[in-house]
Subunit: 139 residues, 2 copies
DNA sequence: CCTTGAACCTCTAGTGACTAGAGATCCTAT
DNA sequence: ATAGGATCTCTAGTCACTAGAGGTTCAAGG
């Protein structure tokens, strides 16, 4: 029965983060040793691995809460899980689009800079004057 | 001489955010009217527009602090500004790469889902078992 | 001149998802 | 028996805001 440190190593979730998940109710409170230290079983390790993976995929903890509740209830329709994943996909796509616009603007700023003094610096100038942008990177 | 509300409208920075920037020292304290209300001048509006634009481009406030200090000192070399912008560009590129991997994984999860019950749901299953991923989307 | 209501003021606390630190206790190996 | 690392609880800090309470000021209409 692994300690919190061992559990952390096996799942890749940091020790304080595991305690944090317990505190906010995402993980049930584990058993305790005679000396009051947390002891995790296999089901708990799986649950943590699930959380870790979903976090890696960018799901917010509130969504993970919902997904865990579904995983605990295998007979239900998975439509709700699809909704959450679809929403997450849309959010990821939106962020990519936005970041791509930023990337182009930053590259343009940097290639136009003649590396002289601040007075002639294209980086500073563009930041001060949005009209110099080609991309719409607002919003 | 615009009030904080007018300034907000002109720069697109929300009123509480303007006060917040003043509080953390990013914006100097403006003048006040007879009734103790903030009054902004043209230089202040420019400074706020600069901040707004840099935030849109994803710069953290600490970097913006540095960029503003440079903008105030036009004779200096712009090398430091280049360093900040280059760092920001690298960070944006890294985020795009990561998000693109996530996007592919999410799309794969969703296309494989047969829309039945949770027990057969590919979304839930993939989340519970990282070995089912093709992409390396960790880190 | 008076009133209404929007805009303004300060201050505190909450968000998400942790992270850091203090100070105490426990466990393992020598 | 002791040294050290790991664990415990608790509080506070991070980033960039956002929300709310409770009070004041300003501009317009009557």
């Amino acid at each position: 029965m692994p300690s919190i440190g061992e559990t952390s190593k096996r799942t890749g979730v940091k020790v304080p983060t595991i305690r944090y998940y317990e505190q906010i109710g995402l993980l049930p409170a584990p058993g305790r040793s005679a000396g009051n230290q947390r002891v995790y079983d296999a089901a708990m390790l799986e649950r943590l691995a699930f959380i870790r993976h979903a976090r890696d995929l960018g799901f917010p903890l509130s969504d993970i809460q919902d997904l865990l509740a579904m995983a605990d209830d295998p007979d239900r329709s998975c439509a709700a899980a699809d909704v959450i994943a679809t929403r997450q996909l849309a959010s990821v796509k939106a962020r990519i689009a936005r970041l791509t616009a930023l990337q182009q603007e930053l590259e343009r700023m940097l290639t136009q800079c003649s590396h002289g003094t601040i007075a002639d610096c294209r980086v500073i100038e563009v930041l001060g004057n949005h009209d110099l942008c080609t991309q719409d990177h607002t919003g």
